[in-house]
């Protein structure tokens, strides 16, 4: 029991300064994605998430004088469109949760860069179509730039730009004879506030 209390005390002692040095941000924005499936049946068919609102939580902690280690989670929800012969049809709701870890470093002036990797989990509202066997979990790589300026003491505005990349497929697509994976590129812009140390 004494050991547990000692360990807890030590952990609190170590994490309190770390938490105090943490920088936490909340942003709202929009995310655009390239098609997650391209197919051809007489015509080209694209399955593509529509431009969607996204909310992002970010936390970062210093690891050196210039670099910070960060974690970021983004949740987007929007329509899923199928496009064929110039016609676009909304066929449902698609949500995604992206969680990445990365390194942040100052680029120039108020510009900060971010590079990281993690996972994206697709969360379709209905398990049908290409998501009949559920939404896949895929690895994701991302780059980003933040423009930060002071608002109040310990508070900043943050305008963010993110680009990420992953390779998409589902169990259903594989079962129906699709080979390989689809390259998916996503771009997000956001505006938010950050609490600084």
């Amino acid at each position: 029991m004494r050991f547990h209390l000692t360990a807890l005390g030590l952990a609190l002692t170590l994490t309190q300064p770390l938490a105090a040095q943490g920088r936490y941000a909340l942003s709202l924005g929009g995310i655009w994605s390239t098609p997650i499936v391209t197919d051809h049946i007489f015509n080209d068919i694209d399955l593509q998430p529509a431009l969607a609102p996204v909310v992002t939580l970010n936390g970062s902690w210093p690891v050196s004088q210039k670099a910070r280690l960060g974690a970021e989670a983004s949740f987007a929800t929007g329509n899923l469109d199928t496009k064929e012969s110039g016609q676009s049809v909304d066929i449902g709701t698609l949500r995604s949760l992206t969680v990445t870890g990365g390194v942040e470093a100052p680029l120039a002036g108020k510009l900060w860069g971010r590079a990281g990797g993690g996972f994206i989990k697709y969360l379709p509202a209905e398990e049908e179509g290409v998501f009949q066997d559920g939404g896949p979990l895929r690895w994701v790589l991302g780059l980003g730039v933040d423009y930060r300026w002071q608002w109040k003491p310990r508070w900043q505005w943050v305008a963010g730009f993110r680009y990420d990349f992953h390779r998409f497929t589902t169990d259903e697509l594989a079962a129906q004879g699709f080979g390989g994976t689809q390259d998916v590129h996503r771009v997000m812009i956001s505006i938010g506030i950050a609490r600084t140390p």
Binding site: V37, D39, E84, A105, G129, F168, Q176, Q182
Partner: protein, 225 residues
């Protein structure tokens, strides 16, 4: 810029550069689904026509007679066919109003064929337990399909026959396949749309056929109810 940051950016650029694309299946083993007509209001005509439900008519409304477990069989059939589509091309739901239905499913023998030359029937029989039929009418011209379509599923053995339930389930799914636009039978015994269906799940040929059908231009439009 920190060294770690530069390393991560470089690794990412290498990974993104080594890209691959999703490769579509060929779907080359689809069988012919098109309706062969020999008569319309202008007299004898020979034509091969395709029909699929337009997105504006989805979900297809199906009225089901509440007898002999037919609602469950129709639900099973809807689930099976929905599962064949990747892009929301077809959807169906049951309705309680037969006057407002696109498809009517009854547990009964099909009535004797009418005298209308524009009417047609696609029958199926999984001997000896049950039989099925789908009646359709291309109305005055061969480019209009009269709605509702009528589906009949008919038991041929007493209800306590151990193989009857499976026969009704398979036959109902087969007839629903006709109602969504497969107006021919598959030549392969391993397909649900074979004239004497013996398999329950859709084969890859059934799936490829219905996917191809729903991206092929439709010659007919549904008219009514």
């Amino acid at each position: 810029m920190s060294r770690t940051f530069r390393v991560i950016c470089s690794v990412m650029a290498l990974l993104v550069g080594a890209c691959s694309d999703l490769a579509s299946p060929t779907r080359s083993n689809a069988y012919d689904w098109r309706l062969i007509v020999t008569f319309d209001s202008l007299g004898p005509q020979f034509d091969t026509l395709s029909f699929h439900w337009p997105r504006s008519r989805l979900p297809v409304r199906i009225w089901v007679e509440d007898a002999g477990g037919l609602p469950d069989d129709v639900g099973h059939g809807i689930d099976q066919w929905q599962g064949a589509f990747l892009y929301g091309e077809w959807d169906a739901t049951t309705t309680s109003d037969s006057n407002n239905a696109d498809v009517i499913v009854r547990l009964a023998p099909a009535p004797p064929p009418g005298p209308k030359p524009s009417a047609g029937r696609l029958g199926s029989m999984l001997l000896p337990q049950c039989e099925g039929a789908t009646d359709f009418d291309t109305v005055a011209t061969r480019f209009e399909l009269s709605v509702p379509l009528h589906v009949y599923v008919n038991p041929l053995v007493p209800s306590n026959d151990p193989d009857l339930a499976r026969c009704l389930r398979v036959t109902t799914a087969h007839e629903l396949g006709h109602s969504l636009g497969i107006f021919q039978h598959s030549p392969d015994v391993n397909d649900l749309m074979f004239s004497a269906p013996a398999v329950d799940p859709l084969s890859q040929r059934d799936i490829n056929t219905v996917q191809t059908l729903y991206h092929f231009p439709s010659d007919m439009v549904p008219v009514g109810p």
